[in-house]
C-alpha cells in the first residue's frame, strides 16, 4: 500500500482503553486519532475523513457506538468498523453486524488481539475495495463495448451507401437501411442471398465468395430503377486466412454518370463547333488553290475573305471558351473599379458602329449616364459589346438597334432593343445556354459561336447583376441588363 500511515479512529469513553490503543497502534506504525464519545468521534471524522478503521465502543454518552458506525459508514463505506465492548451479547453482535461491523473485540483485550483484529480487518478491507474496483471496471468496459457497438450500428444504419454482409452459407446477415432502399425486400436477416431480386449483384457476390485466390475485391456498375450504383464486394478474411463471407457496398454514382454524359456531350459539341469553321475555311482555300476561282482576282479575294470570316469566328470561339473555363474554375478575377456605365455603353456602341453601317442599321444610344457601377471595365465592355453585336446580327438590313442607359432604383439599367427577327418562347429559354443558337432561314447566314450570350450572363452575374430578354418572333428583342450602383 501507499507509504502513508493507516489512519484509525478510536472512540471509547474509557480513558485507559483510548490511551492504551493509541500507544499500541502508534508503536505498530498506524496513525490513531482518539475521541471520548460518539459525538466527539463523529466530529473528529468530519474534521478529517479518510480513516481506514473505526474502533468503537458501543455504550457511550451523547451518541452510541452503533449510531456513530451508521453515520460513518454512510459517509464512507470503506471505513472498517471494529467493535470493542465489555458487554458483548448476541443481540449487540447482531445489531453491530447489521450496521456493518467487521468484528468484535471483547474487553479486556491484549495488544496482540487488537493488532490481529486490525490486520485481518485491513486485509478484508483491501479485498473488498479491490473487488469493487474490478467490478466497476468491468461495468465500465461493458458500457464502453455497448456504446461502441451501438455507435457502429448507428454508423452502418445511417450510411448513405448501402451495405450487405453475406456469410459463406450465402445468407445475408446484415443489411442497412440504404441497402433496403436500393434493393427493396421485406426479408428479415438472415435470409438467402438468392432472394435478392438482382442477378447482377448476387452473381458478383457469389463470384467473390467462391474466389480462391486470396483477398478479392470486385466492382461492377449496376443500374437499379433510375439510379446507377458502383457495387464493391470484398471478401472478409479471418485472421486464420479462411474466407468468412463478403461485404457488398453500394454507392450511388447517378450524379457522376450524368456529369460524365454532360461532359462528353460538351466535348462533342465543342469538336463540332471547332471543326465546322475550320472545314468551311479550308473548303474556300481549296477552291482558290484548285483554280476554281477561275483565276478571277476579285473572286479569289471574296473566297479568302469568306475563309477569314470563319477563322475569326473560330478565334472568338476559342477566346470565349477560355473565358468560360476561367469563370467556371474560378480563375477569372474581376479587377473592379467605379465605371461610368453610360460612357462604357457609348464605347461599346462605337465599337459596333462599322458593323451597323455595313448592314445599314441605325444604331442609337439614349438616356442620361445612369451612374457608376463597381465593375471590371474590360469584362463589362465585353458584355455590352456582345449584346449590341448580337442585336445587329439578328436584325435585317435597314433595321434599328437602340441602346438606352438609365438609373433604376439601386441599379443602372441598360436596354438593348432591336426590331429584328425576335425569338420564340422556346428559343428565349435557351438563349443563354452554351452553344445554343436559334436556327432558321435567317440565322443560317449569321456567323456566331453560341457562347456570346452565355458569357454575357456569367459575367453579369459575377457583377451581381441580372440579364433578361423580352422577345417574340418578328417583333424584335429587348435585352435588359441590371447592374448594382456603386
Amino acid at each position: 500500500m501507499s507509504g502513508e500511515a493507516v489512519r484509525i479512529l478510536v472512540v471509547d469513553d474509557e480513558l485507559g482503553v483510548r490511551e492504551g490503543c493509541r500507544k499500541i497502534l502508534t508503536a505498530e506504525g498506524y496513525e490513531p486519532t482518539v475521541a471520548e464519545d460518539g459525538q466527539a468521534g463523529w466530529e473528529a471524522f468530519q474534521a478529517r475523513p479518510g480513516y481506514s478503521v473505526l474502533l468503537v465502543d458501543l455504550m457511550m454518552p451523547r451518541m452510541t457506538g452503533l449510531e456513530l458506525m451508521k453515520r460513518v459508514r454512510e459517509a464512507d463505506e470503506d471505513v472498517l468498523p471494529i467493535i470493542i465492548t465489555a458487554h458483548a451479547t448476541i443481540d449487540t453482535a447482531v445489531e453491530g453486524t447489521k450496521q456493518g461491523a467487521y468484528s468484535y473485540i471483547p474487553k479486556p483485550f491484549t495488544p496482540d488481539e487488537l493488532l490481529l483484529a486490525i490486520k485481518n480487518g485491513l486485509e478484508r478491507r483491501a479485498l473488498t475495495i479491490e473487488a469493487r474496483r474490478l467490478r466497476e471496471e468491468r461495468e465500465r468496459r461493458l458500457l464502453e463495448v455497448a456504446a461502441e457497438r451501438s455507435k457502429s450500428n448507428t454508423i452502418i444504419k445511417c450510411m448513405t451507401d448501402g451495405i450487405l454482409v453475406i456469410n459463406t452459407e450465402q445468407l445475408v446477415v446484415l443489411r442497412n437501411d440504404a441497402a433496403t432502399r436500393i434493393l427493396p425486400g421485406t426479408q428479415t436477416v438472415p435470409f438467402p442471398l438468392a432472394s435478392l431480386a438482382c442477378a447482377e449483384v448476387t452473381s458478383l457476390i457469389d463470384e467473390v465468395l467462391n474466389s480462391a485466390s486470396g483477398p478479392t475485391i470486385m466492382s461492377r456498375e449496376v443500374t437499379l430503377a433510375e439510379s446507377t450504383y458502383m457495387v464493391n464486394v470484398s471478401q472478409v478474411i479471418e485472421p486464420g486466412g479462411e474466407t468468412s463471407g463478403a461485404v457488398a457496398v453500394f454507392r450511388d454514382i447517378t450524379a457522376l454518370k450524368k456529369l460524365e454524359t454532360a461532359k462528353s456531350m460538351f466535348v462533342s459539341m465543342v469538336a463540332h463547333e471547332v471543326k465546322n469553321p475550320i472545314a468551311a475555311a479550308e473548303g474556300w482555300l481549296n477552291l482558290v488553290q484548285g483554280g476554281l476561282s477561275r483565276q478571277d482576282p476579285q473572286e479569289e479575294r471574296r473566297m479568302i475573305e469568306r475563309a477569314l470570316i470563319r477563322l475569326r469566328t473560330l478565334r472568338t470561339l476559342v477566346t470565349e471558351l477560355l473565358n468560360i473555363t476561367a469563370i467556371e474554375t474560378g480563375n477569372f478575377t474581376l479587377r473592379r473599379s467605379p465605371v461610368e456605365v453610360g460612357k462604357l455603353a457609348a464605347e461599346a456602341v462605337e465599337a459596333n458602329r462599322d458593323k451597323s453601317r455595313e448592314k445599314n442599321i441605325q444604331l442609337t444610344l439614349t438616356g442620361a449616364g445612369g451612374g457608376q457601377s463597381l465593375a471590371d471595365r474590360d469584362a463589362l465592355l465585353m458584355v455590352l459589346s456582345n449584346l449590341i453585336d448580337n442585336a445587329i446580327k439578328y436584325t435585317p438590313d435597314g433595321g434599328h438597334v437602340g441602346v438606352h442607359v438609365a438609373k433604376d432604383g439601386l441599379f443602372v439599367k441598360v436596354t438593348v432593343k432591336d426590331d429584328g427577327i425576335g425569338m420564340t418562347p422556346a428559343e428565349k429559354d435557351k438563349i443563354f445556354d452554351e452553344f445554343y443558337r436559334a436556327k432558321n432561314d435567317f440565322t443560317a447566314n449569321v456567323p456566331g459561336t453560341g457562347l456570346g450570350l452565355s458569357l454575357v450572363k456569367r459575367l453579369t452575374e459575377m457583377h451581381h447583376g441580372r440579364v433578361s430578354v423580352d422577345s417574340s418572333p418578328g417583333d424584335g428583342s429587348e435585352f435588359t441588363l441590371y447592374l448594382p450602383l456603386s
Binding site: 454524359t261 462528353s264 456531350m265 462533342s268 469538336a271 463540332h272 471543326k275 465546322n276 472545314a279 468551311a280 479550308e282 473548303g283 474556300w284 481549296n286 477552291l287 484548285g290 476554281l292 477561275r294 469568306r306 470563319r310 436556327k439 432561314d441 443560317a444 447566314n445
Partner: protein, 125 residues
C-alpha cells in the same frame, strides 16, 4: 436538261462552295438549309449531297432515308465535319455500312473538289 443536284447544309459556306464546283461542271444545283425544304423540292433531284448534322443530330440520316423512299434510285452523298458523337464512331467502313445509312458515299468535310467531282461523275454515270 442538265441533271439536278440538291445540296443540303445549314452552313451557307459549304452550299456555296459545292454549288460553285458543281455548276462549273454544267449541273443544275438547288440548295436547301434544312431537310424539310430539301424534301419539298418540286423537282426530283438526280443526286442529293447532304450534311449529316443539322438541326437534329441525325438529320442527315433521316433525310437519306426519306430521299430513298420519296425518290427511289436517287443517290445520296453524306458529308460531315464530325464523324463521331460521344465516342461512337459512325464512319462507314464497308459497302454494307453505307447501305445501312441509305448513302452511296460518305465524306469528311471539307470534301476535296476533285474527290467530289469524281464521285458525282461515278454516281451520275
Amino acid at each position: 436538261m442538265a441533271k439536278l443536284i440538291l445540296l443540303v447544309d445549314d452552313d451557307r459556306d459549304f452550299l456555296e462552295q459545292n454549288r460553285g464546283v458543281l455548276e462549273s461542271l454544267g449541273f443544275r444545283v438547288a440548295c436547301a438549309t434544312d431537310p424539310q425544304t430539301a424534301l419539298d423540292s418540286p423537282e426530283r433531284p438526280d443526286l442529293v449531297v447532304s450534311d449529316l448534322m443539322m438541326k437534329n443530330l441525325d438529320s442527315g440520316f433521316s433525310l437519306a432515308r426519306a430521299v430513298k423512299s420519296r425518290w427511289a434510285g436517287t443517290p445520296v452523298i453524306l458529308v460531315t465535319a464530325v464523324s463521331s458523337q460521344r465516342g461512337f464512331d459512325f464512319n462507314p467502313r464497308t459497302r454494307e455500312d453505307l447501305a445501312a445509312m441509305n448513302a452511296d458515299a460518305f465524306f469528311d468535310k471539307p470534301v476535296d473538289p476533285a474527290v467530289l467531282i469524281a464521285k458525282v461523275r461515278e454516281l451520275l454515270g
